[in-house]
Structure formats: structure tokens, C-alpha cells
């Protein structure tokens, strides 16, 4: 009786102080840690906003958007094509918040620059996301096979990554871009993804190498589980954090890579456009029409920075050793 009361004592007092321990699943913990990471949260909001803005404003794939001008129509220059966007409120000496006729201004042919930038952002985002998906899928599959089965698959992967590592990323990407840039954003994304997967493949292989020796995998094998089931149900869920983080960061890199390629003339070809290509096209206009140069750059930075922050937040969230949230 007394023993029972004693055993109950501390628990009861902790309960009254609101310190009950609630069981959380792995996913809940990851989510909690991620949402406590303020920079990552801000990055997520910005990234979401850019995606919604880019795809809803001028419409996508035949679906019309809410913005009435097209990125192809030339028009007459209003006020030398200066941007009409104003965000400084009236009491600070600005003109209050308004969009105006051409919020980002117009280029020298009178094309609405907001529509053009949105089109560029769409293309850049499509390329980057496809690169992320393709590189992650291929890298994960090859890495998993190489890490689990070893032998031939591993030798092939390691020699292939060795070869790919001797070729600088920008160089191989430029060659691929020259081949596929004319076929549009989707093709460019797929082919870039096909040459960018080895880093991720190596990473996944490393994870598999250590996990396949663990007891739970051995137990599964002893129970006669098939290789496919061990890979997908036992090992892969344990590597998901590493893969997601790497995939996120690869998307950020792909945004920068695509814009650099388009800038060098190896990416998306005119008449279609992308953020890097816009910068290249208007870089000589820097002195007379600086806004033509500013907007695409700001969008590239916004996209890359927000994805980098999301990646950082995810890394902290998936890392169980992480107790303190870094800024």
C-alpha cells in the first residue's frame, strides 16, 4: 500500500505540473522541430508564395491566370517602362501600396515585365523541381541497390561516380544543356537530373552500407524477408531524412545551375525564357533600365535562399542529436 503510494507520488506531482510525457511518432517530432525553426518556416512561406504567384498570375499550360497581360505581347511604353509597383505606404512619403499598370515595368519592346518574370520563374522552377525529382529517384534507387547488394552494382556505381566527379558539374551541365535546351524546360530538367544524380547515389549507398549490417535488418533477413521488402520497408524509411535533405538542397543548387546555364546560353533557348536568360538578355540595360536586371535576380535569390533555409530546417528536424534549433 505504502509502496504503491510512493511509486505513484512523483508521477502524480509531475502530472499536476503539466509534465506528462506524451508519446510522439517520429513524424510528429520531425514536424515539431521543423516548425520551431523560424528561418525554415519563413523560407517555406516565401517559397510557397513564389510558386503560387508564378503559376497563378499568368496561368500555366493553357489555364488562364489572373494577370491580364501576356509575356509575349509587345505594347507601347508607359512612362519609359518604369515599374509602377509601390510598396512604401503614404505616411512614409511613398505613394501607398499599388500594383499599377506594369508593376515590374516594361522592357524596351513594351513587354510587360511582370508577366515575363513570372514566365521565367515558372520555367526555372520547373527545371529545378524536375532535376530534384529525377536526380533523387535515380540516385536513391542506384544507391540503394549498390549499397544493399554490393558486388557488381556497387562497382558500377562507384566507377560511374568516379567518372562523373572528374567532370565539373557546370561543364557536364553545359554540354547537356546545349543538347537539350531547345527542347524546353521539361527535357532540360530530366537530362540535367540524369547527370546530377551520382552525389546523391553515393550518399544513399553510404547510409545503406551502415544500415544493412544492423540487427533489425539481419532479423528481417533471418525471417526470410525478400530483398525488395527489406530495402523498401526496413532500410529506406531510415534513410528518408538524409534523402529529403539532400533532395531539397539539390533543388536549390539546380535553380542556380539552371540560371547560370541560361545566362551562358546553354539553357532554355529563346523565344521561351527563364530567370537566368532574362538577366543575360537585359544585362546591357543595367544603366538605362536597371529594373529589367533587378527583378529576375531577386526572384532567383528568393527561391534559392528559401529552399536552402527549408533544407537547413529539415536537416535539423531529422537529426535526432539536434536539441537546440540553429538560426
Amino acid at each position: 500500500m505504502t509502496l504503491n503510494a510512493q511509486a505513484k507520488g512523483p508521477g502524480a506531482s509531475a502530472d499536476s505540473q503539466g509534465m506528462t510525457i506524451v508519446a510522439r511518432t517520429q513524424g510528429q517530432m520531425v514536424r515539431r522541430r521543423f516548425f520551431r525553426h523560424r528561418a525554415a518556416l519563413a523560407g517555406m512561406l516565401v517559397f510557397g508564395f513564389v510558386i503560387v504567384l508564378a503559376f497563378s498570375s499568368i496561368g500555366f499550360a493553357g489555364i488562364p491566370g489572373w494577370w491580364d497581360k501576356s509575356y509575349l505581347d509587345t505594347g507601347s511604353l508607359v512612362n519609359q517602362g518604369r515599374p509602377t509597383l509601390s510598396v512604401v505606404p503614404g505616411f512614409l512619403g511613398g505613394e501607398g501600396f499599388r500594383f499599377g499598370e506594369h508593376p515590374f515595368g516594361q522592357d524596351d519592346l513594351g513587354i510587360d515585365y511582370f508577366a515575363l518574370t513570372m514566365r521565367g520563374a515558372q520555367q526555372s522552377l520547373i527545371v529545378a523541381l524536375i532535376v530534384g525529382v529525377v536526380a533523387t529517384t535515380v540516385g536513391t534507387v542506384v544507391g540503394a541497390v549498390a549499397g544493399y547488394f554490393r558486388k557488381g552494382a556497387e562497382a558500377v556505381l562507384m566507377r560511374l561516380t568516379d567518372v562523373m566527379i572528374t567532370i565539373p558539374v557546370l561543364i557536364i551541365a553545359a554540354v547537356v544543356g546545349q543538347m537539350t535546351g531547345k527542347s524546353g524546360a521539361v527535357a532540360l530538367g530530366i537530362f540535367l537530373g540524369l547527370v546530377l544524380w551520382p552525389t546523391l547515389g553515393r550518399l544513399v549507398r553510404g547510409e545503406f552500407l551502415s544500415l544493412r549490417e544492423k540487427e533489425f535488418v539481419e532479423a528481417a533477413r533471418a525471417a526470410g524477408t525478400s530483398a525488395k521488402r527489406i530495402i523498401f520497408r526496413h532500410i529506406l524509411p531510415n534513410t528518408v531524412g538524409v534523402i529529403i535533405v539532400a533532395a531539397t538542397l539539390s533543388v536549390a543548387n539546380a535553380v542556380l545551375l539552371e540560371s547560370a546555364l541560361s545566362f551562358l546560353g546553354f539553357g532554355i533557348q529563346p523565344p521561351d525564357t527563364s530567370l537566368g536568360q532574362l538577366i543575360n538578355r537585359y544585362r546591357s540595360a543595367m544603366t538605362v533600365r536597371p529594373w529589367l536586371f533587378w527583378w529576375p535576380g531577386i526572384f532567383i535569390i528568393a527561391i534559392a535562399l528559401s529552399i536552402n533555409f527549408i533544407g537547413d530546417g529539415l536537416r535539423d528536424a531529422f537529426d535526432p542529436r539536434q536539441t537546440r534549433v540553429r538560426a
Partner: protein
């Protein structure tokens, strides 16, 4: 060790061979090498096409072309590009231009990055640390070409305009002083009062400095003069001594101070030599400086002889560097007049047809190097900062650092000797790999700044769908990557005895 190197070389050879196949095939397939001629309307179009077809062996299938290219390379012939120019000559020029551009920038980025990274690790979770982390994230997300064009606009065109009347407006001075104060304040450890104090000091010092520069119109006629040279080198002497030996006992400090004074005096004594020297003389002077300073350290060092020599030599070389910069700045006026008042240039490696004395020629290349180097430094700085911060944090939590503290060693010894040396090990690997990448040229930077380097050569060749220059480029960069990766592994094993090469 030899077995390791030999095995690595053999494997690397086959890896490189496979990579050349991929590069050659992809380049050859990447477009139509005759495209510009097909749109050509000149009467001898057919002859031109036939000419190029023959030179590039376009009638042969790609594997045949690859094999014939490979055969030539084995015989030491890099071939000709599609216009018949010798690729080996183009490659030589491009390589020297690229090395000129990237070596200095990379070294600067490494030094600055490591210093910032270490400071932010030592001040973890301080305002400075958060700012550096945030700035590094921004640097990771910056498109290099965008930054480069911005630099051209604001650091060259606007800056040159401003140089015509170099007075700094009070608002700008205020902003700079605020920045200076914030840096000082964020770097200071301790309670709020101390931080506020150092903020005030930083603010005042920065404000005074820039007001002085503005009032004396320093930018119109820059230079240091003997007193300032002396002051800078004395400060450097104290700094190097603190880092290498500590201020007690005094031996190393006296050696370093002596080196600083001797250096400053030497700049006066050697006035006639320094009027228009050659590089050979400069190198000779540097060697003499090292010898004299080493002697000073040996004589005055006492028990801390080795540290004293280090401090004195570093101080001597630093003083020499300050004097060098001072001479170059003194040549500024003549140079500025020669280039019609637009000293910071945006294109190429040198002003065409410009002739001047040693200092003016150096100033010319320096002013051409300035902007591309800034762009390159900005981009690679972030990586070094993050890596050195992470590695330093890791090391500072190790048991041997706690032991060193527990023994009662001064914080300087703990940080410099126990933590810093071990923290550098992972960074050496990064450096070696980075240098390899650097030889491939800064493709984007070279394009923006019109620099005729490796990157430009590659871009032009790829646009022309011309495999020979692309492959020449790739042989150099690929070999560099393989070799430097191997050096990184060997260095790692040398620096960290726990790692064995196998």
C-alpha cells in the same frame, strides 16, 4: 604509400579515359558544328563547309573521330580547333590567364573564410555568429553572374564616377560607422555594458576614419606615407606575436616590433631601388626580409625562439606587403590620368597599349583583377566559413581541448595550438579539391568580365560544337581534379595519423 599512389594513378587513368569518352561523345552530339556556315551567304560557302568537314572529320562516325583524337593526344598533339588554330597554344594562354585570376582570389577566400569561420565558432550563438550564418546562406543562394554584373555597375562605373569628387556624404559615413560599431559589438564577449562600450568605440573609430579619408580627399591621391606604414606594421607585429607566442615573455614581441621598424625604415633607405624595380628585385628583397627577420627572432627569441622567428618573419613579410601596396597607391594618380580617370576596369586582363613603370603596370593588372576577384571571393567565402566554423566547433568540444583548458593553459594556446591545428585538417581536403576546380576557370566570372581564360575557351568551343578545345580543356581540369584529390588524401593521412592510406 608508393603502392597507394601507384594504384590510385592507375585507377585514375582509366577513370579519366572513360570520362573523355563521355565528354567527347556528348560534345560531338550537342549540336551542329556547321550551323553558322549553313546560314552563310558568301559565294565560297560550299568550299568552307567542305574545308571544315574535312578538318573536323565530320564524315567519320563519332567513335572513329574519338579514336583519332586519342591517338593524336597520346603522341602529344592536342589537335587544331575548327578554324585550324593550334589548340595547345590557345590552352597555354588560357591557362595562364585563369591562374592569374583565380589563384589570388582563392587564397584570399581561404584566409578570410577561415578567419571568419573560426571567430564565429569561438563566439557561437553570438550576434556575429548569427549574422555570419545568415550571410553565408545568402552567399550560397547568390547567382554569381548577377553579383558580377552588380559589381561592374556599382564598384566600377559608379565608383569611377565618384572618384572624380571623392568626398563621402555624412549619411554614408554614418551607415559605415554603424556597421563598424555593430561588428565590434558583436565580436565582444561579455555583458551588455562591455558590448555597448565596444559598439561605441567601433562606431567612433569607423566614423573618424572615414571622415578623415573624406576630408583629406584620400581617394583622389591615395597612399600611406611612412608614419602610417610604421603604425600598421607595429600593429601587425603585436597581432602576429599574440597569435604565435603571446606577449609574455617579451622576446618574441621585441623581435616582431624590430622587424616592423626595420621594414619601415628599409622602405626609406631603398627609395632608389623601389622607384622602378623588377620582379626579380622584389623577390630578392622578400628573401632578404625573411633572412633578416629570422635572424632577429633567433637573437631575441630566448626560450621561445621558434615562435619568435615565426612572428618576426610574418611581420617582416606583412610590412613588405604594406610597402608594396603603398608604392602601388602612389602610382595611382599617374595611372588614373593614363586611363582617363576610370581606374577600375570591367573588361579583360589589362588595358590595351598601356605602358608605364613597374608600379603602374602592376596597378593596371590589380585594377583589372579587383572586380572578378571580389566576385569569386564572395562566392567561395561562404563555403570556407561554414566548413571552418563546423570543424572548429567539433574540435572545441573534444576531450583534448578540455584537458588543455584543465591544465590551465592560456586560451590563446588552447585555441591556436590545440584547436586550430586540428580544426584545419578537414579544411585542407576542401582546399585541395577547390584548387582543382579553380583551374577549370571561373566559367561564369570569366564570361562576365571578358577574361580570356579556361572557362571562356570552353564556352566558346562548346558554342561552336568543337570537341578538340573542349577535350583539351577537360584533360587539364580532369587531371587536376584527379591529382589534387589524391594530394588531399595524402595530406589528410599526413596531418591526421589516425587515418591510414590503403
Amino acid at each position: 604509400m608508393i603502392v597507394f599512389i601507384a594504384r590510385r594513378l592507375v585507377i585514375s587513368f582509366f577513370v579519366l579515359l572513360a570520362a573523355t569518352v563521355i565528354m567527347f561523345v556528348l560534345t560531338a552530339l550537342s549540336g551542329d558544328p556547321l550551323e553558322d556556315l549553313r546560314q552563310d551567304n558568301s559565294p565560297n560557302r560550299a568550299a568552307k563547309i567542305a574545308d571544315r568537314t574535312e578538318r573536323m572529320q565530320l564524315d567519320d562516325p563519332i567513335p572513329v573521330r574519338y579514336l583519332s583524337w586519342l591517338g593524336n593526344v597520346v603522341r602529344g598533339d592536342l589537335g587544331v580547333n575548327r578554324d585550324g588554330h593550334d589548340v595547345a597554344i590557345i590552352l597555354g594562354d588560357a591557362l595562364s590567364a585563369t591562374l592569374q585570376l583565380v589563384v589570388a582570389a582563392t587564397v584570399m577566400a581561404i584566409i578570410i573564410g577561415i578567419v571568419i569561420g573560426i571567430v564565429s565558432a569561438l563566439r557561437q550563438y553570438s550576434g556575429f555568429d548569427y549574422t555570419v550564418t545568415f550571410a553565408a546562406f545568402i552567399c550560397f543562394s547568390l547567382p554569381l553572374f548577377w553579383v558580377a554584373v552588380m559589381l561592374k555597375q556599382y564598384m566600377a562605373i559608379e565608383f569611377n564616377n565618384w572618384l572624380k569628387d571623392p568626398s563621402i556624404p555624412p549619411t554614408v559615413i554614418g551607415a559605415l560607422a554603424l556597421l563598424g560599431g555593430l561588428v565590434f559589438g558583436a565580436l565582444t564577449a561579455g555583458d551588455r555594458k562591455r558590448r555597448l562600450l565596444s559598439f561605441a568605440v567601433g562606431f567612433a573609430v569607423t566614423a573618424a576614419l572615414f571622415t578623415l579619408l573624406s576630408v583629406t580627399r584620400w581617394f583622389a591621391d591615395p597612399g600611406f606615407g611612412l608614419p602610417l606604414i610604421l603604425a600598421i606594421s607595429l600593429a601587425a607585429a603585436v597581432g602576429f606575436t599574440v597569435l604565435s607566442a603571446g606577449l609574455n615573455p617579451r622576446g618574441p614581441l621585441y623581435a616582431a616590433l624590430g622587424a616592423a621598424v626595420l621594414g619601415a625604415l628599409a622602405s626609406e633607405v631603398l627609395r632608389s631601388v623601389l622607384a622602378d624595380p623588377t620582379w626579380l628585385e622584389i623577390i630578392g628583397l622578400a628573401l632578404v626580409t625573411v633572412a633578416v627577420c629570422a635572424g632577429l627572432g633567433y637573437a631575441l627569441g630566448g626560450l621561445q625562439r621558434r615562435q619568435a622567428i615565426t612572428a618576426a618573419v610574418l611581420t617582416g613579410l606583412f610590412t613588405g606587403g604594406v610597402i608594396f601596396v603603398d608604392r602601388m597607391l602612389q602610382a595611382f594618380n599617374g595611372y588614373s590620368a593614363a586611363v582617363r580617370g576610370r581606374p577600375i576596369s570591367t573588361i579583360g586582363a589589362r588595358t590595351p597599349n598601356f605602358e608605364g613603370d613597374f608600379w603602374q603596370m602592376n596597378l593596371d593588372s590589380a585594377s583589372h583583377l579587383l572586380l572578378p576577384s571580389m566576385a569569386l571571393i564572395l562566392i567561395s567565402l561562404a563555403t570556407y566559413t561554414r566548413y571552418s566554423r563546423a570543424s572548429m566547433l567539433e574540435v572545441m568540444n573534444q576531450d583534448y581541448v578540455r584537458t588543455a583548458r584543465a591544465k590551465g593553459l592560456p586560451e590563446r594556446t588552447v585555441v591556436v595550438k590545440h584547436a586550430f591545428r586540428n580544426g584545419l585538417i578537414p579544411i585542407t581536403t576542401l582546399m585541395a579539391v577547390d584548387f582543382a576546380g579553380v583551374i577549370g576557370g571561373a566559367v561564369v566570372t570569366e564570361t562576365v568580365f571578358g577574361w580570356e581564360g579556361m572557362g571562356k575557351m570552353f564556352i566558346t568551343a562548346l558554342h561552336d560544337v568543337d570537341p578538340t578545345p573542349v577535350m583539351a580543356f577537360f584533360i587539364v581540369t580532369g587531371t587536376a581534379i584527379v591529382v589534387f584529390n589524391m594530394i588531399a588524401d595524402i595530406l589528410y593521412a599526413y596531418l591526421d595519423p589516425r587515418i591510414r592510406l590503403s
